[in-house]
């Protein structure tokens, strides 16, 4: 239980950091999608099913924080996680020498898939006349999306090592043994 609480705080802090710090520090108000990077990290390390709860929680927190209708980012993260697990299972294990390259391609794919899913979702909602769903994502064919992909690739190593450090910390390990 306490492990889940710690994960919740990691997700919460990540969302606040994304909206209050990263968007402010980087030029043009664009920051890396830290929650998407967390989803990639968890799915690559634990697989789709074990990381499902964390992905849903990350999507829920992002829906609350970014004023989207509840469900939009949950669905997007679950969709992305499913396909990342597909890629990581087939390529990351087999081609160990190409790990960094495959991981980079996974981040690119995840960022594009997340955006494509949200754009399709907004399109479908618009078709059904549901307008109160929050701000639309950036268009799929836009330069901003390329910048986001770049920022996500740059930030992923930081998230990866930070999360690895937290997961290997004595505190979490001790808790893991007790519960």
């Amino acid at each position: 239980m306490s492990r889940k609480i710690i994960i919740f705080f990691i997700i919460l802090f990540s969302a606040i950091f994304q909206l209050a710090v990263l968007a402010n520090v980087f030029f043009g108000g664009l920051g890396p999608n830290t929650l998407l990077l967390l989803v990639i990290f968890w799915v690559v390390r634990e697989g789709f099913e074990r990381a499902l709860f964390k992905n849903i929680l990350a999507g829920l927190v992002l829906d609350f924080a970014t004023f989207h209708v509840i469900g939009a980012n949950i669905a997007a993260f679950t969709f992305v996680a499913f396909f990342i697990s597909f890629i990581s299972k087939r390529f990351l294990v087999v081609a160990r020498n190409w790990r960094i390259f495959i991981l980079m391609m996974t981040i690119i794919f995840a960022t594009l898939a997340n955006n494509l899913f949200l754009n399709s979702f907004f399109g479908v909602a618009d078709y059904f006349g549901i307008t109160e769903i929050g701000s639309a994502p950036v268009p799929f064919f836009s330069f901003i999306l390329i910048k986001e992909v770049g920022l996500n690739i740059l930030f992923f190593p930081l998230i990866y090592f930070l999360m690895k450090k937290i997961e290997n910390s004595n505190f979490l390990q001790a808790r893991k043994k007790i519960f």
Binding site: F13, V25, E49, A75, F82, I133, S135, P137
Partner: protein, 268 residues
């Protein structure tokens, strides 16, 4: 043994998608607003501290990056100062003319606004400058549709959603934002909205109206809670709309939306 196509993974994926579809299509957005309000109340203090700190970091980085340019800027500023001294004399004469024009246009004096000031504590991280989070809400008398300005009376957006202690402000650069505006020089009326890649676009201007590059665009006061005469920006480029029925123009605001730190909501 036949291959199993419906795995537990696919079942879980489909289940999440179905639940999300139910949440989105059956529940209106307002259904979760009390929970969202509670969530925003919890994160407000952290957001306030982090946003303030990151603003200072951002300013310091910008300052450090600009040191090499300071010498050149100094020379430019000296030249500009001489030019401006001459301009001041000319502008004093124009000031009287401007006062008369304002009276004729019945612009609402900016000191008559009832303003609620506060800090920006979060923003859209997608780089589309769509919205910001303001640290004042329902408790401070804020309601949806109210105009949001910066200290010198430049319109930056409208209040979209209000929670007890915070509110979401849709910026003019958001693609969903629509505000009625008028060209101060020619009187041409239109609608300002955000457009990806272009910033602000003044649209729906009839072909018979005149739009000139450099014209000042202000709010027209038509519809909604936006008072008349709030500065929006200046015209940079005039185009014909895709359907060739209207004219549209790219408007440049003096405000960098991604760097907002203090804003004011007009209550009346």
């Amino acid at each position: 043994m036949p291959k199993k196509y419906i795995t537990s993974k696919i079942v879980k994926l489909v289940s999440v998608m179905v639940v999300c579809a139910f949440l989105v299509f059956l529940n209106p957005k307002g259904f979760f607003n009390p929970v969202r309000g509670f969530f925003l109340r919890i994160v407000l203090p952290f957001q306030r501290v982090l946003y303030g700190s990151s603003q200072r970091i951002s300013e310091t980085v910008s300052f450090l990056a600009s040191i090499s340019e300071i010498k050149k800027d100094n020379a430019d500023l000296s030249r500009e100062n001489n030019f401006l001294a001459a301009e001041v004399a000319r502008l004093k004469q124009l000031e009287n003319e401007n006062r008369t024009l304002k009276e004729q246009l019945e612009l609402l004096p900016r000191d008559k606004f009832s303003l609620v000031g506060g800090f920006v504590i979060g923003q859209d991280a997608q780089g589309s400058e769509g919205w910001i989070v303001f640290d004042k809400g329902e408790r401070d008398g804020i309601s949806p549709g109210m105009a949001v300005i910066v200290s010198n009376g430049i319109l930056v957006g409208k209040v979209d959603e209000v929670y007890p202690t915070s509110s979401k402000i849709n910026l003019l650069s958001d693609s969903n934002s629509l505000v009625n505006v008028v060209d101060l020089e020619t009187g041409a009326k239109g609608i300002i909205r955000g457009e990806y890649g272009l910033g602000l676009v003044m649209d729906m201007v009839t072909q018979s109206d005149a739009l000139n590059v450099g014209d000042t665009i202000v709010t027209s006061g038509l519809g909604g809670n936006i008072p008349r005469g709030l500065l929006v920006g200046k015209l940079r480029e005039v185009k014909i709309s895709d359907d060739r029925l209207f004219q549209k123009a790219v408007v440049v605001s003096r405000i960098k939306y991604s760097k907002l730190d203090t804003v004011f909501v007009i209550k009346n």
